[in-house]
Symmetry: C2
Subunit: 157 residues, 2 copies
Amino acid sequence: MRLIGIDPGLRRTGFGVIEIISRQKAVYLGSGVIRPPTDRPEPERLGLLYAGMQSVLSQYEPTAAVVEQVFVNINPRSTLSLGQARGVAIAALAAAGLPVSELSALKIKQSIVGTGRATKDQVSHMVCRLLALQQAPSADAADALACALAFWHAQRP
Amino acid sequence: MRLIGIDPGLRRTGFGVIEIISRQKAVYLGSGVIRPPTDRPEPERLGLLYAGMQSVLSQYEPTAAVVEQVFVNINPRSTLSLGQARGVAIAALAAAGLPVSELSALKIKQSIVGTGRATKDQVSHMVCRLLALQQAPSADAADALACALAFWHAQRP
């Protein structure tokens, strides 16, 4: 299984791809952040997010996807805007034929760090350890990798 | 200008296409509702909404789009879900190279019926009159046509 984790957002959508080698072993394939230019109108940014997702999917050819569930208890306009970006990312995954799962930020942190109160630095640190990365990816890419790793952990028998 | 109006939603996304012939005259080209099957998982429904939008766009080849602005003062989960569907519809329009505008439901009703408190029946009735339709389209399609007509009215010098 080649798993892509997604941390969606209009400004920055993080992605991280891992290959599951065995019950104990996952290998880092790549990660990054899709950043549609902020000086364009929002509809165009959503279109560019879709195109960016397509490009990542054709580069890494994952076979399954997991998307971070968002915290919706923010103001309605932000929730709507985040929902829009999230919908675009999910549609791109589904259009590529991938099964799409979801995981809450709480469960991801619990799985990766052992506590739902983990800081971003702790998540990033553990992602680097679990995947033997020499250099920490950016925060959004680390969150996406954490999402993929947590999903894999939850799936293991 | 060939204008497509969109009333987005996960269960039903209404669309309506009009051709602007002159300052006074717009002609009905088509309308309908995209309904991704409700028995599929939400990610798949979002993917099918994107595909449905692509199909409508290739059928009618509009040159500009206007999307109804949604009322966000509902519960956060509904706002997120509506945002997801809305983002997918907008991304499909932007990916097709269309300029995408937005209009609030209030402005649409004011423009078409003369009052922001207009009922759905009143909107549908006026859409039929303005476009000389023999038969009323479904409510979501009528809202999408109203959106396109209101945008055209607002653009006229």
